[in-house]
């Protein structure tokens, strides 16, 4: 019981929805080192389910995903009261104006294009979003 309280009080939980297992590993490792708990989802459907059951403090979301794409996941997250206040950071390689605009309109907090950010910079954005 005491242990459970510890995790819910101290350690912030991040849900990482990304189908590239290499990225799951790199971000998983570095975020754990920074003291976060990381929950992985390799497709959109699992991501949405975990967002509801695990109640993470932050969601890192890719847009190109199997089964359900990131836009749809984002839209569904914002429809439900228990997940609509979880901040979502989009981390993707799509970087066109329409895509950025659409994601922000759907309620994403930040939009990061992978090619333009280093690992460390992404971690900084995660920290800022959790403050």
């Amino acid at each position: 019981m005491a242990k459970q309280q510890d995790t819910s009080n101290g350690v912030k939980k991040i849900l990482f929805v990304e189908d590239e297992s290499a990225l799951q590993k790199t971000f998983g490792d570095i975020l754990k080192q920074e003291g976060y708990e990381v929950v992985s989802a390799l497709d959109g459907e699992v991501g949405l389910k975990l967002a509801k059951t695990q109640s993470p403090d932050l969601i890192l979301l890719d847009l190109i995903l199997p089964k359900m794409d990131g836009f749809e996941v984002l839209e569904k997250l914002k429809e439900v009261p228990e997940t609509k206040d979880i901040p979502v950071i989009i981390l993707t390689n799509m970087g066109r104006m329409e895509e950025i605009g659409k994601a922000l309109e759907l309620g994403a907090k930040t939009y990061l294009v992978k090619a333009n950010y280093t690992l460390q910079e992404v971690v900084e954005k995660v920290k800022q979003a959790l403050e």
């Binding site: 490792d29 390689n93 104006m97 992978k114 690992l119």
Partner: protein, 318 residues
């Protein structure tokens, strides 16, 4: 001499482009047009002579005209189809570049992030010797990333999907910023960069990111293609309606016979390959296409072993 004659004949031969494109004769638009022309002339002559000598039977004349008209219609249809096929092939190629460059991005991102984590020392202490190799890996992922970005730009230009913003920009300030950014490369290459800008240079209305890319491309080329040590001189002047930007180097220059290819995509000059294996052959193509979209112009003059002078113009904000 006979070689030249052969070349002239070849350029006059309407079938040459189809041979180059790999289009079969029965689908070659040039050939079909020629054939149609010959048929039309033949028909006019034939109808005329038939009408003159066999005026007694206008029904036959009418029938012949109808048949010929039908043949021409079929030919027309084939020609249109052939053009469609060529246009389709060109579109597929653009699409292919787009898909490939997008697909290359994901594995490259994986490499880049893994490498960053490895070289950060967070996974364990790193030896001095390992750092050197991490640096090599980093530089090469960077190069690959730049190449993919250039390919994406090319596919966007060709698909007509390159949005340009309209911002007020001071070309002088922008150039100063880029020279500062290139200082390490210039110093490492033993190249002095000099800039001359008049005091009250009018502003231009353009997209700052792409304008930066253009100036970067030109400065990067100027520095890179200087053997040993050298000088790069940049001059910016204002005209009545346009701003004129000129960049002069005393580098390897471009051989005369290759000058006409310099703005083609993927073209790399033979003499340059000796000094610099790095480079995609896309920089100047992108530069030219973007300047065209911005309403500007670009050109150059060059002498092998003496250096090159590239210039571009861009409309002043009115």
């Amino acid at each position: 001499m006979s070689h030249l004659a052969k070349k002239i004949l070849e350029s006059l031969n309407p079938l040459t482009p189809c041979k180059k494109w790999g289009v079969p004769l029965r689908q070659c638009p040039q050939f079909l047009f020629l054939l149609m022309g010959v048929i039309i002339i033949g028909v006019i002559l034939a109808t005329y002579s038939i009408a003159v000598y066999q005026i007694g039977d206008p029904k036959i004349v009418a029938l012949i005209v109808l048949v010929i008209a039908f043949v021409l219609l079929i030919l027309d249809f084939i020609i249109t189809r052939s053009f469609e096929r060529i246009a389709e092939a060109s579109r597929m190629k653009t699409e292919f570049i787009n898909v490939v460059s997008h697909q290359l991005r994901s594995p490259l991102t994986n490499l880049r992030y893994s490498l960053e984590l490895l070289s950060s020392g967070k996974l364990g202490k790193i030896q001095e010797k390992q750092l050197e190799y991490f640096k090599i890996l980093e530089e090469n992922t960077q190069r690959m990333g730049d190449l993919i970005n250039d390919l994406l730009t090319v596919s966007r230009i060709e698909a007509g999907k390159l949005p340009l913003k309209k911002e007020e920009i001071s070309l002088g300030t922008l150039t100063k910023k880029i020279i500062l950014k290139f200082k390490p490369l210039a110093e490492a290459s033993n190249v002095k960069v000099e800039l001359r800008v008049p005091k009250n240079l009018p502003k231009v209305l353009s997209d700052s990111l792409w304008l930066e890319q253009i100036v970067e491309n030109l400065l990067d080329n100027a520095i890179r293609y200087i053997k040993n040590k050298g000088e790069v001189k940049i001059k910016i002047k204002a005209g009545a309606k346009k701003i004129y930007f000129e960049i002069q180097d005393n580098g390897v220059g471009i051989p005369r016979e290759e000058q006409k290819f310099i703005f083609q995509k993927f073209f790399r000059s033979g003499n340059v390959l000796k000094y610099q294996t790095d480079g995609s052959g896309l920089g100047l193509y992108i530069t030219k296409q973007i300047l065209r979209l911005m309403g500007g112009e670009v050109g150059f003059s060059s002498k092998e072993n003496k250096g090159s002078t590239f210039w571009f113009t861009i409309p002043i904000k009115l």
